[in-house]
Every structure is written in C-alpha cells, then in structure tokens.
C-alpha cells in the first residue's frame, strides 16, 4: 500500500497498465513533458516514443487516431487535456466511437480510454472548469468513470483500459493534489460498482468525483448535529449502480444528489428520476439536488464558490429533506 497523490496515482495507474499489456499506448498533448497536470510524468522516459505519442494541438486527430488504433489492435489511452476541449472533438467521440460497435452489429470493437481533467474549483474560468460528464451521459455507447480518490484513479483506470468498450475517464482537477492509499499489486475497481464511503440511516448522499469528499465533509457536520448520512460514491455514470442507490434510499427514505455539472440537465436528474420511478414508496421527502449553477463558471473565488456545490449547501439540503416530515400530509 503506497500513499500517492491523485495525480501520481494516474501516472502510476498508466504505468501499471503499460507494464501489463504492451498494446497499451498513450496519445495526447504534452505527454512527453509529463502533461500540464503532471499525470504522465516519467512515462515517456520509461516507455519511449513509440508508446507515448505527443500530438499537435489536434483534438480531432487525437480522438480519431485513438479510434483507429483501437480498431487496429492497440489499447490506446488518449488524453484530452481539459474536458472542456471535448467540444472540439465531440464528433469523433459521440458519432464515431460511441456508435461503431452498434452500427457494425458488434463487428467493431473499440477498447479505448479517453482521459481528461474535469471540473472547477481552481479558478480556471468558463472554458477550463466545466464539469462535462453529463455531456457524455447523453450518449449511449460510452462508459463514464469519475474517480474520487487516488486508489480509484488507479483502479478505475485499470478497469477502463481492460474494458473492450470505450471509456471516458473524468479526472477531477481539484483532486490532483489529494493524497490517499493506493493498493499494491493488481488493483482493479470494476466499472459500475458504487462505493459506500460512509454508512448512515437518516439520509443518502450521492456524489461523484470531487463531490464525494464534499459529501463526506457534510456528513461529518451533520453527525455533529445528530444526523447520520450515508455517502455513496457513484464512481461511474455508465454503467450506473442504481441498485446501490435504491437499496440505500430504501433504508434512509431521503436522497440528496450532489453534482457539479449545471443542474439544468445534470446526471443528478437521471438519478432523481429513477429513484422517483422505482423507490417512490420509500421516500419520506422529495429528492433534492445540489448542482452546479446554470451559468458559465466565473473565475473570482467568491463568484465561483457562489455557483458551485459545497458541503454547506449539502448540509442545508439535508436539513430541508429532514424538515419535510414536519409538513402535514394531505389528508
């Protein structure tokens, strides 16, 4: 067991997969230099220019070449530096990669991963801070992994690289400096299996990536007030571990979903809808969502915080859910 930062865990996870499988190759911008987030540090020196390929600033070429390489027998891991940049190559992701297997009736297999730095909290502004995981969730054919810890950064990446389906890994840039334990050996976290990070009987909090530590911080505050929150780390949006969420809500009767993407159409809406459809009878309060604001992300600290989810907003939402029981039911 080693303690690594999240960014070191990404590099370590890539190195583990490249050691294990010679067909795993990297493609992206500034990889040789270690990447702007230092997530590929040391990999060029270790694996050489054949397997660690620097590209020009050409996101369409990166995504398309990853697809072709996957069709041609490699397991490419492409990097789109900031997840905002998916907009420059979204055609390749959603019209080509997501659909190739289906349109070919299973004759094409695309074992590829696209990693990118996602999310806000560090003042990068509206074009470098978006949480874009909900974009991908609109498109059948893409698996979506969003690690919240260094251990999961390694384990989910391992599962993604070994998957025969295309997987988008959204690393959270506010988490890159966070330290955590990474198991030694072959550490694989299966796609589509949520983690219960904290048990509690009063309310279920569902988070993803950076909103998981946020939920845990909220849960600690709530515990001081005598409220026990269960915290579920979804880990993946597709496959979605709906069973774990439904089971938890079945016990707590209350659900607060904490998502960083804009609430006007975030993944939390999908989670809320399926709970409403399938666990309505278990609910003792309306499902609440703490979401990113429906504005482009501003830069100044106070402005960005204003429109971003936070532990305090989660605590407030939980109290709203708990207060709901005081409303007299309609006779």
């Amino acid at each position: 067991m080693a303690e690594l930062t999240y960014r070191e865990a990404v590099a370590a996870g890539l190195a583990r997969e490249m050691d294990r499988d010679p067909t795993v190759v990297l493609i992206g911008e500034d990889l040789r230099a270690g990447g702007v987030f230092k997530t590929t540090k040391g990999l060029f020196e270790r694996f050489g220019p054949v397997r660690v390929r620097d590209t020009p600033i050409s996101e369409q070429a990166i995504v398309g070449a990853a697809m072709g390489a996957a069709m041609g027998g490699l397991r490419p891991v492409a990097e789109i530096m900031f997840s905002d940049f998916y907009a420059t190559c979204w055609d390749g992701v959603v019209n080509e990669i997501a659909k190739a297997r289906y349109m070919s009736a299973g004759r094409l297999t695309l074992p590829l991963v696209i990693r990118s730095a996602n999310g806000g909290g560090i003042g990068f502004g509206a074009q470098h801070s978006q949480a874009t995981e909900n974009w991908a969730m609109c498109v059948p054919g893409l698996k979506i992994a969003c690690p919240s810890t260094p251990g999961d950064a390694v384990g989910l990446l391992a599962a993604a690289v070994r998957s025969d389906d295309p997987v988008l890994v959204f690393e959270h840039k506010a988490l890159y400096g966070v330290r955590g334990e990474v198991p030694d050996g072959d550490h694989v976290v299966p796609l589509g299996r949520a983690g219960v990070r904290r048990s509690g009987a009063d309310v279920t909090l569902v988070g993803l990536a950076a909103t998981v530590p946020m939920c845990l911080a909220a849960a600690a505050d709530l515990a001081a007030a005598g409220v026990e929150a269960e915290v579920i780390d979804l880990r993946c949006l597709v496959p979605l571990d709906a069973a774990t969420v439904l089971e938890s809500v079945g016990r707590t009767g209350r659900l607060v979903v904490v998502e960083e993407n804009p609430g006007q159409l975030g993944w939390g809406a999908a989670v809320a809808a399926l709970v409403a459809e399938e666990a309505f009878g278990d609910l003792r309060a309306p499902v609440l969502r703490v979401s990113g604001g429906n504005v482009p992300l501003p830069v100044a600290k106070e402005l960005e915080a204003e429109v971003s989810p936070s532990a305090a907003k989660v605590v407030a939402a939980v109290h709203r859910a708990l207060d709901h029981r005081r409303v007299a039911p309609v006779a």
Binding site: T23, V25, I27, V50, R51, R53, T55, P56, S58, Q60, A61, I62, V63, G64, A65, A66, M67, G68, A69, A70, M71, G72, G73, L74, P76, D91, G92, N95, E96, A100, R101, Y102, M103, S104, A105, G106, R107, L108, T109, P111, P140, G141, S163, D164, D165, G192, V238, P239, L240, D241, A242, A243, T244, L274
Partner: protein, 361 residues
Amino acid sequence: MSTDTSAGQAASGAARGEHPTPDRNEGLTADDLRDLAPADQDLRLYRAMAFVRAFEERVETLYKQGQVRGPAHLALGHEAVAVGVGAALGPQDRSIGTYRGHHHALVRGTPPDGMMLELLGRAGGVCGGKGGSMHVLSVEHGYLGSHAIIGAHLPVAAGLGWASQVLGEDRVTACFFGDGATNIGAFHEALNLAAVWHLPVVFVCENNGYMEYTPIETVVPVTYPAADRAAAYGLPAITVDGNDVSAVREVAVAAVATARRGEGPVLVEARTYRHGGHSVADPAAYRPLGEVEAWKARDPLAVHRDAAVARGGDPAVYEAVMPEVREQVAAIARRAQEAPRPDAADAWTDVWSDGSSTWRS
C-alpha cells in the same frame, strides 16, 4: 477467403445471431482484383467496375421503388477510383470510406448479398440492420467501414496506420473521401498527424466536382482541393484521371508502395464525376446543361473498354460482361427481397462488448 482478420477485431454480434450474414459471395470477391496479370488485368478491372455499376443501378431502382431504407449515395461514375485503388491493395491492407461507399466495400470482397440485405433492411445484413447504406463494412475483408460524418474517418485512418506502425505490421490503409471533406478540420488534422508520424496511409480524394449540391470550385480557392493542400503538410500528392482505371491503379500501386516502405503517407486526388445527384433523392438540377453528357462521354467503363479493345481485347467479350453482372445482381436483389425481416429485439443488442445495451443495475 484467406484475408487476415484485422488484429483485435473478431466477427461477433449479428454474425452470431439467428440470421447470420450470408458468406455467399457471388458476383465480386476480393480475389477478383488480386494477382492481376498482363494477360487478364484489363478484363478483370472492367468486370469489377461493371459489377459495381450493376449493383448501384439496381440500388437506384430499388430506392425509387421505396425498397431501400434510408438514403443511398451511389458511386455511379466513381467506379474506376474504387477498382483502381482496390487492385493496388493486398489482402492484409485496410481501407475506410464514406457514406458513398458501396463501391469501396464491394471491391474489398464485402459480400454483395450481405450488403443488399443491409440496404433493404432485411435480416442478415452486414450491419445487422443497424448501419444501412451509409455504414456498410466487412472487417474480415479489411474494409473498416463507411463513415457518414464528413471528414471524421480521416483521423481514424491515421490511427489504423499508427496501429500498423506500432505493431510492426505490413499493412497500408487506404482512406477514401470526397472533395467536400477537404474543408473540414479533421482533414487537416489527419493529414498533419499522418505526415509528422510517417504513417502508412494513402489518402484518396474522389473529387467529383460537387460538395453535395454545391460546385466545389465555388468554395475552395485552389484547383485541386485535396492535392493543393497536401503540400502544406509535407505530403506528396498525385493527381490522376479518376475515370481511367489503369491510370488510377498505376498511381495507387506507387502510392501504396511508398506507404508500405515506411516513407509516410501519400495523397492521391482522382478527378471523377457523379453521374447522379448527391443521393438518389437529389435530381441534381443545379448542374449546367451538357455537363452530365460531357462526363458520360468519358464514362470510366467506356474509357477502359475502348482502351482495352485498342490493346487487342475482344469487343464481344467486353459486351458480354454487363448483361452477365446485371443478372448476378438481379439474383442478389431477389434473394434479399425474399429474406426475412430482422427481429425487433435485435435493436437492443451490440451497444456493449458483452452484447447488451444495459446501462444501469
């Protein structure tokens, strides 16, 4: 067929199902364009073009009868490009094309029966009913698909070349696209990447003069929309008469050899003409009077037949080809029309590698 299956790609999905794609491969096979010898190459090239012509004519008829599901973009007039380049590729090589791609699929050996089933939306089509005319493919024959977003597949071709390079495989990828693709970013990104990485890719522009409904010369400031841009990326470019199959083949043999030697990509721009509209639904009334007739006077089949006869070929032999392939295609169409329709439940398979479309627990 002994064609090496693309590494990492296995026939599965619909191939496993209740209605497998027929491997019946009558009419045109990959072997028909392999090992051409001086004694027979003229006739074999002609016959392959004639088969493509007959296939597309039949698709046009079926479309007008309402039997084709979705649009159909035909290669009538483009036959020499597909056949000329196809004859330059080896069984291990790959090709990839556009929504106007029936000809590119056929010349690699994609079963015509499976293609016709796909076009008519019947069970057993090469895409299991999930692709249609714009997405036909045959992985086992090295045709990695028709792609219907303009330009999107050029970077994919670069990636196929990259895989060959990394794996040390002797495979060249031929990438077909139209003149209309030369103004989209993916074209430029792909050419640059392929050139800077010395990838074994031959980019083939089928310049038919029209970007959908718009004359290409009204939207580009250069004479050759692909070849004139290639120099900017350090790519050798060759222009060729795309209605002369022998010329196309000669150029393609040289380009494929360059790529195979590891000397990097080559771009070929073949000037040709689309006999019909952008799709069968387009009457193409925007074309100036006399233009179609002038190009049909240089029909690639007639050009090649005349040249072959001038070289000593028997005119009677050439005359017999078209009726023969039309009969073959008519039989293919009949079989497809009599085939069962797909099971609706097939719509729920093949999203994921486990065969399912399940997205949640």
